[in-house]
Symmetry: C2
Subunit: 431 residues, 2 copies
Amino acid sequence: MNPTHGDAVIPHVVIVGGGFAGLWATRALATAPVRITLVDRHNHHLFQPLLYQVATAGLSAPDIAAPLRHILRKQRNVEVRLAEATAIDAPARRITLAEAADANPSHLDYDYLLLASGATHAYFGHDEWAAHAPGLKTLDDALTLRRRLLLAFERAEASDDPAERAAWLSFAVVGGGPTGVELAGTLAEIARHTLKHEFRNIDPAQARVRLLEAGPRVLASFPESLSAKARRQLERLGVEVVTGTPVSAIDGRGYVLGDGMPVPARTVVWAAGVAASPLGALLDAPRDRAGRVQVGADLSVPNHPEVFVAGDLASVQQDGRPVPGVAPAAKQMGAHVAHAVRARLAGQPAPAFRYRDFGNLATIGRMAAVVDVRGVRLSGVLAWWFWLIAHVFFLIGFRNRLIVLINWTWAYWSYQRHARIILGREAADEP
Amino acid sequence: MNPTHGDAVIPHVVIVGGGFAGLWATRALATAPVRITLVDRHNHHLFQPLLYQVATAGLSAPDIAAPLRHILRKQRNVEVRLAEATAIDAPARRITLAEAADANPSHLDYDYLLLASGATHAYFGHDEWAAHAPGLKTLDDALTLRRRLLLAFERAEASDDPAERAAWLSFAVVGGGPTGVELAGTLAEIARHTLKHEFRNIDPAQARVRLLEAGPRVLASFPESLSAKARRQLERLGVEVVTGTPVSAIDGRGYVLGDGMPVPARTVVWAAGVAASPLGALLDAPRDRAGRVQVGADLSVPNHPEVFVAGDLASVQQDGRPVPGVAPAAKQMGAHVAHAVRARLAGQPAPAFRYRDFGNLATIGRMAAVVDVRGVRLSGVLAWWFWLIAHVFFLIGFRNRLIVLINWTWAYWSYQRHARIILGREAADEP
């Protein structure tokens, strides 16, 4: 069912994934002579850099998400579909979608395809850890994590057994990248400040928050001096930073570091491994060890110039280094794919992608962050303000920005986190 | 483990339920010479009058809830426990709690007990309807309902079959009380305004929203003239109001009215029946047909002057009419129980409860409401403003009030509802 525009058939661009890469590509094609179908499993675009705030009860889920349909309502050449891609027939230029469990799969014929379905957790071959150490990629992940973190303090309060109480007050975050650092820092703040005066049998400030990094330092993508500063800021917030030893076991009771003794910890959070979305495997294309699709200079797949991959699912090398899996890179790739499609439509070759690195920011906790922007290195309060302004500025939609600012201002002055609501029907039944 | 205060043993008051009745009782005992244990299955107090706003994506879950521990952090004579009451041994003055699935049940010995666990849905002997027509009592209910309402439009958009599309765009709300009226009115607004321009294959404004009331009129607790006005306001918003015929069947495809033909409707919402919380059955006390405990004049249970019941779980007659199951009545009952406990502690008889009726408000939708306050009857815009101010004023906690006001102001001008985020892991898998 290719609708025609005048005499010509309008080319059909199918974009899988409404994250930064997919959404930026969609928008950049607003005035192109194409019709676009944007496919996503979720009905919303998620501002992933603030997901840890939902997990740690600082923000509500809708604060950092916006319905894709709403974002794109005025872009008349886009149709949004809530569905999952299940198969790609590249020679036939056809993609299969599962819309609902009770419906038959449907098919879309495309002229151009952009696969931008992002990344998921990876447990390095230890999938059995997933049940005990949840990760953080979706809003549902964040609400699950929030429930576990808040319930741990409840269980500690209810327990009469000192050893069990200590195990409930023992938290471990595995992985010293930006997400792990944010989670550990915020968790320490919750224990020390937010929950003050609220419990009668425990002192939440006694909670032990450990950040476990297998490598030699936290925030390995930053210069060494900033890693060291981040570590000191974490320690000042009350986080115990353990580097240099990998986690070798995780179960419902705790974890083991290297060949050491088991450490009791009822709450372990996974922020260590990232793997590409399994959709990459639907393409007959080379992939790297993390499952990312190795794309050409124009971000298209070898032998299929009409198929592009962008964002965390794409493996792109530039000047001998991989382009990092961060939001600005995904946006740039998405916009580039739109350029490439326009070039092809005009009968020209697609240009090569070039990542422009504007710098690297990571927040650590209250008034603590590190910034490395074009050689300017900041840490502490100044870096935190820089991070805050950048993140609020980039939040999609004016309304969300305003609400997030109010929530943060309130949280800042009161040490409170307004979203400390345990959701999930079995709140009292869960371990 | 009865701690002592000086020489005397401090009486222990156990309060089950942190809703309006339980929380108001707890606060009114702040300066009483007692120690209090407040038990709730959820970690939060819920502002139930605005729950329909969470279900219809106007507010986030944390906007209308506050952690009980946080509300009570400064009241040092209270201990909050996240647990479920599972048994009451009234002669022994002992209550059994289940804290977590993997923990042993624990016991609390009380000197006074207040049971205030509220109400739940009732399907009039048709429990099989529950799966097809979810009700609205908790935040999890609201998020489930939100998911279903938003997914219905997605399914309609994805369907090629006109009959199926119409069934997905057919919504029925069963029950013409305040909750049913709010839900139907808001749903019509969403279909007609909020979702405008967002779909490509359907026109959401074609959605059929029916409000089904078995009795002769909607809002039966209001004077007849206001019921008639409410009906006209609903119809103006696009709701089809059907009165006088009970629903006789509900399944996943639709419903039947009386002995009529099946009406296709993939989304049916239950706002018809309320039954008392099953905890009432743990007491050896007389109950009315809805399962509410029939209490004495002082709200205590016959033969157990130390056991009180308040809020929606209590059946109280006054001047030959039942005290209604509304928030102000629950608050008044809670405060009364605190009075009664204080009187008993002072060796005096507990006074009789007297409900002070300040009036009756119900909202219908955008700029539409009815108000009946001490003989003053309002409808339309003025009633809506009255309702809005009253509800924002009574929201617990300054921060929530501010956020809710901003959300509503925004929603009012933009017709947008910021919380249109489908949560739940199986978004794409659900029917």
